[in-house]
């Protein structure tokens, strides 16, 4: 990625240009020490002088307007700060609507808040007006010249006289510090999507990733760049220099890769697509400038300023075209559909045939704060982090756009959310990383338990076809080959994940993608590195999905890997495939689990077996419900006795008026074994009322087992 720079040939400002700002309709206003404000077209052409002021102006900021559609007379204004201590509100035509005496001495800078309800000014008198609770820290060795904060990812970038720029989170923790540049850093600005920021210095402009490394560095003839401003759609940046010259930069050479396809945005209206396998090149031209594009799942989605074009990677000739109402700020894709986010129509889910499916909404949805970290799409579910408190994840089904599943409320701010991509809706799982970088997993469907998977997780990405997860944990790449194991048997978690020993990724590496048997990562120095993942787990997933258990066992025998056996064991338990589970547990030497599986296999009835499997999954309630529904009262009581849930066992026995003596006998034996005396009043009471005869109880138990085996529909497991 780089900046394609254009500099106007004419020198319009006679003196130093102090500030620039883009309007919502992509018109640039620049102000200068020659007392004038000029306007420019997005192409860099000078369109004329707007007005002249009677004082030196130091800063300007347009009234924040989220959408082109909301643009109107009242919102089409900009604020200009002046050295005479006033700030002025100007209309688009340059008429001074209002002039307010704000500070003694000059007003140095001013900013609207995001809603446009307040304006903060900072003056030479050392006062900041209309500010909120401040946190301060020592950031630079030397004067801090410029800072910018992004509401999307809550990060701050600052530049100072120590010639460095630094990236901070909103608590003041240093995330990145640059090597010193040649000159003081005089301007920094976040791109609206907060993936990038621009840094300006003397005759120098550079484009940086959010993690700090530079995409490109450009030399200019503008003097010190005093102010930088991005357009609303984040495709263009403008800067003004100390010699009055302006510079326009457009993002170009944005490259996306998916499988063997590579799409590159060559300039604003032109995309080149490479097919790396048969080495063909396709050129795509657009009428309007390209704002966003996404490549994946055999489709390329390109959003221009007016249209959304959907190409299939099979043919580049006939795109499906959708009309857009506003500038798209984000595109997300999944297997079956994709979504676009804009500030007017919100979140739109569309199919690849170009049909709009739905438009999920909830109270307090702020599309301008959404980023791809806070939004995740799968075939049937959409997950959105609610930015009003930052701790809530809401789920929507993608067919109707209605809320689905349980709203997830966490105790901490959520930094990243991701939905699993494979399988059907009941299997859908969500993982999220919170502010403490802890990774949690939950089922989307109702009543799912929240399980903490790992601490110190920097990023987490699901595999695009199987239920595998790649995470950067403590600077190491960890692959979770079967995440569902969390809900099957937590003892197996450690044996179904592996840490890649090879490959040094360093601090702050981010996983870009995980598909096939390859994981791509972006190191903190900007290098995109690949990490190989063994292909066998993926094959195992595919075989299991097709119910080919014998082939799965053969695969595991061939590979002879404990990890694969553990995965297979967990999958088999989840699918109640006991023979496979037996083989797998035997192979990975989990003797206790093997014994348990054998015991389950010996149970004569289907319901009894599924209840025992529910116990394996640590869901006693579910197990009991299965048994009671099937009328296996004795088994339910026996299960509670084995779990030492004496109260519940007694309740069940009393409710069904059977086996009270069985419960009492086992209770007595248990107490005798642990050398304690009965002190529960209810048990004392029933011990007096009900006679307990050990021989009779054992006879009854044997009869129950036989009765279960003779039930209609009871089959031995084969």
């Amino acid at each position: 990625m780089r900046l394609q720079l254009t500099q106007p040939r004419v020198q319009v400002h006679k003196e130093l240009a102090s500030a620039v700002g883009w309007s919502i309709s992509n018109e640039l206003f620049s102000t200068s020490d020659d007392h004038t404000i000029h306007s420019w077209k997005a192409s860099g052409e000078h369109s004329g002088q707007v007005c002249s002021l009677d004082a030196y102006s130091t800063d300007l900021h347009w009234y924040p307007c989220a959408s082109r559609r909301q643009q109107g007379g009242a919102t089409d204004v900009l604020a200009v700060s002046c050295t005479d201590g006033t700030f002025k509100i100007l209309s688009k035509s340059g008429r001074v609507e209002k002039s307010v005496d704000a500070h003694r001495g000059a007003v140095i800078c001013l900013r609207w808040n995001y809603e446009g309800t307040a304006l903060a000014t900072a003056g030479e008198d050392g006062l900041v007006k209309a500010s909120t609770s401040p946190v301060s820290w020592k950031a630079h060795n030397g004067l801090v010249l410029r800072a910018d904060w992004s509401p999307v990812n809550d990060m701050i970038v600052s530049g100072g006289e120590d010639c460095r720029y630094k990236v901070w989170d909103s608590f003041g923790r240093l995330l990145f510090q640059s090597a010193p540049l040649d000159h003081h850093v005089t301007a920094v600005a976040w791109c609206p999507g907060a993936d990038l920021f621009a840094v300006g210095s003397l005759n120098h402009l550079q484009l940086c990733d959010r993690s700090g490394w530079a995409y490109s560095k450009e030399s200019l003839q503008t003097g010190s760049i005093l102010s930088l401003s991005w357009t609303q759609d984040g495709t263009q940046v403008a800067g003004c220099g100390g010699n009055g010259q302006l510079v326009f930069g457009r993002l170009a050479d944005i490259a996306l890769e998916w499988g063997h396809m590579k799409a590159t945005l060559k300039d604003d209206k032109h995309i080149r697509v490479h097919n790396l396998v048969n080495e063909t090149v396709d050129e795509l031209d657009f009428r309007d400038s390209v704002v966003k594009m996404a490549l994946g799942f055999e489709h390329l989605v390109v959003a221009t300023s007016t249209q959304c074009c959907i190409y299939s990677t099979a043919t580049w000739n006939t795109p499906h075209i959708l009309d857009l109402k506003d500038t798209v700020s984000l595109i997300l894709q999944c297997q079956r559909n994709f979504l676009t986010v804009d500030n007017f129509s919100g979140i739109q889910i569309c199919t690849y045939e170009g049909r709009q499916v739905c438009n999920p909404k909830f109270q307090g949805l702020r599309t301008e704060f959404l980023s791809k970290q806070l939004l995740s799409l799968s075939n049937d579910t959409l997950a959105i982090v609610d930015k009003t408190d930052g701790k809530t994840i809401r789920f929507f089904d993608t067919a109707q756009g209605k809320p689905s599943g349980d709203v997830l409320v966490h105790s901490m701010d959520i930094a990243e959310v991701a939905l699993s991509q494979n399988g059907i809706a009941p299997d859908r799982k969500v993982v999220f990383v919170d502010r403490n970088r802890d990774l949690y997993v939950r089922r989307v469907s109702k009543g799912g338990a929240l399980v903490k998977l790992a601490p110190m997780v920097e990023s987490a990405v699901w595999h695009d076809t199987a239920e595998m997860l790649a995470t950067m944990t403590d600077q190491k790449l960890v692959i979770w080959y079967y995440v569902n194991v969390v809900f099957v048997d937590r003892d197996l978690i450690a044996s179904t994940c592996s840490t890649q020993q090879e490959g040094e990724f360093g601090k702050g590496a981010v996983i870009q993608g995980f598909s096939g048997s390859r994981c791509t990562l972006r190191r903190s120095d900007g290098a995109e590195v690949a990490a190989g993942v063994p292909p066998y787990p993926l094959m195992l997933h595919q075989l299991v999905a097709q119910n080919q258990w014998d082939r799965a066992v053969r695969l595991c025998r061939f590979v002879k890997d404990g990890l694969l056996w553990a995965c297979l064991a967990a999958m088999a338990v989840d699918a109640a495939e006991l023979n496979t589970a037996e083989v797998a547990f035997a192979a990975c030497e989990e003797v206790d689990k093997l014994q348990q599986v054998l015991a389950i296999k010996a149970i004569p009835s289907q319901e009894g077996r599924s209840a025992e499997l529910a116990l394996v999954r640590r869901c006693p309630q579910e197990a009991e419900a299965i048994l009671l529904q099937a009328g296996l009262t004795y088994r339910a009581i026996q299960m509670n006795i084995q779990l030492f849930r004496w109260e519940r066992a007694l309740d069940l026995a009393l409710k069904h008026k059977t086996h009270v003596d069985t419960v009492l006998l086992h209770r007595q034996r248990h107490l005798a074994a642990s050398r304690r005396t009965e002190n529960d009043p209810r048990f004392l009471q029933y011990a007096q009322e009900v006679p307990v005869d050990a021989a009779a109880v054992e006879l009854k138990e044997q009869q129950e087992v036989q009765a279960e085996a003779q039930r209609p529909g009871a089959r031995r497991y084969v």
Binding site: D182, A214, E502, D525, A527, V529, G532, F558
Partner: protein, 131 residues
């Protein structure tokens, strides 16, 4: 007395009475002529001086111009070293930039080679055992 008067009085070519003595008159006449000659010569001299001065001025201007040029050149030479340093720095920065990009690409290549190696191993393993 009359004769004396008569002696002094004469007629000129136009038969007008002339009271001045002929000799005197002739001397005056030559004086006038010589004066005329002299003033003419002076004028000539003046013209010559003027052209000379002009030429000198022009020369001075040219010299001044050349002087300025020389000064400019001298300055340019003086800044050349600095300029070269600046350019050198710029090139160095560009080089560092490219170096960084190269390192990134090398890291990417290395990782891809590692993946390829792993895949090759896998292929040999699979083909060997199937033999």
């Amino acid at each position: 007395m009359v004769g004396q008067v008569g002696e002094n009085i004469s007629f000129d070519e136009n038969y007008r009475i002339r009271v001045l003595d002929v000799d005197k008159y002739n001397t005056t006449k030559t004086l006038q002529e010589e004066c005329g000659n002299f003033s003419q010569k002076i004028q000539q001299l003046d013209g010559m001086v003027k052209t000379y001065l002009e030429a000198v001025d022009q020369q001075a201007k040219q010299i001044e111009l050349e002087k300025l040029k020389a000064v400019g050149l001298r300055n340019a030479v003086a800044t050349l070293a600095e300029d070269r340093k600046r350019k050198e720095k710029e090139v160095e920065r560009l080089l560092a930039d490219k170096q960084q990009q190269l390192e990134r690409l090398l890291a990417e290549e290395q990782s891809l080679l590692r993946v390829k190696h792993e895949q090759d191993m896998l292929i040999t393993k699979v083909t060997d055992s199937s033999c």
